[in-house]
Assembly symmetry: C2
Homo-oligomer: 208 residues x 2
DNA sequence: GTGGCGATGTATCGCTCCGATACATCGGCA
DNA sequence: TGCCGATGTATCGGAGCGATACATCGCCAC
């Protein structure tokens, strides 16, 4: 998942680790806590070994005349390669079981602007199915096993059930919007060729 | 976290691995997917090595007195020890940063019936703080960095923000109930000294 | 009766990711 | 001048997951 997110961000512009983490946090803040460096750096190394990204030290220009005695460690700027872009396209389009899990879904959704509509629909519907299953599981527990559980546990289940129901409704809306050709926050359908979907975004919405 | 959950469940009755997983799924279904055996068995081994639980093979004789749905199979039944109960009490009362994380909070909450009121309040307030911080982070992104993000990413943030606001409200209610001495789903206050939380539970609510 | 099949049951392996920790540089300001 | 918080790179141990393997049980179709 991290691999996908990193490739997606580097596609927008080259970055060094610290920056990458901040952008990652901003983009994925809704679905997970800040990424750990213990995940980030090893993943960057792996991506580099696979040839999806390259390293371009920023020291040369920055420090050129005064790097002397102290072991000045330059920032390492990572840049996506052509292979990396291919890899991203492959990852973003392929859907497996974990695509519908909380984190997996969130990451895929965060890059929907770079995903084609058919894939978007597939993912939204897969996620809906997943959340519906979870919802049914919670309903079962609440109706069939309620007497075995204490009041706090039941309250937890109720809260979880509520969250599931809300998410399903949210997904239904998104699916309906996709089918009718609207962007997530547009007010209505578009049948003309005016400024495409993005609402207030300055990023290109569909195939970049 | 798994350690705490297993000790908590085994406190109610001895169980074998498969059963434990099912109970775990029922109890924690609202906060996490089914536990993996790749986590469960190694943890059981660790708990056993530490002396918190003991292994009691359920063969012939055992099965006859407790004949649920199973038969005489080479199952391994785990049972909590006195040390294990102490360990559980220690874990359930101690709060660290991860106590307020999604999973950590959920597990602690699921055993609130075995937690004293002061600790319950501490945890609920810590969690509220955590979720509020998350909420502020999302608001910041939505107000300050909105133009940098595409419509889908923004929609994700909005949905996350909504979930945060809801959870804070939920926590406020729970905190108010705790302060006024009500169980999570009771209809009114209690000013006598009858058993604190249990609602309709048949389980003993406080120190067993 | 017997063959298959889904539920029950125990177990391991490789992997991803996290949290803690260490260390170094930078700009500002007291 | 000295301190501090933000920036920045990096590793280590461990928790938990998903895939996989394998064995037994109860039951129903053939």
């Amino acid at each position: 998942m991290l691999e996908l997110a990193i490739l997606g961000l580097l596609q927008e512009s080259p970055m060094h680790g610290y920056e990458l983490r901040k952008e990652l946090t901003a983009k994925l803040g809704a679905i997970r806590a800040a990424i750990s460096y213990g995940s980030l750096y090893p993943t960057l190394r792996r991506l580099q070994a696979s040839g999806w990204i390259t390293e371009a030290s920023a020291t040369a220009a920055d420090v050129e005349e005064a790097p002397p005695l102290t072991s000045r460690r330059g920032r390492v700027v990572y840049k996506i390669t052509a292979d990396g872009k291919e890899r991203f396209a492959e990852l973003i389009a392929q859907t497996g079981p974990e695509t519908y899990e909380d984190t997996g879904f969130g990451v895929h959704f965060a890059f929907f602007a770079r995903t084609d509509r058919a894939t978007r629909l597939r993912i939204l519907e897969g996620r809906r199915r997943k959340v519906e299953e979870r919802r049914e599981g919670l309903r079962d527990v609440l109706s069939r096993a309620a007497e075995r559980l204490d009041a706090y546990t039941l309250e937890l289940q109720r809260h979880g059930l509520d969250a599931c129901e809300r998410e399903v409704r949210w997904l239904e809306e998104l699916i309906a919007n996709e089918r009718s050709g609207r962007a997530p926050d547009d007010g209505g359908p578009r049948q003309d060729n005016s400024p495409p979907p993005p609402g207030q975004s300055r990023k290109e919405p569909e195939r970049p």
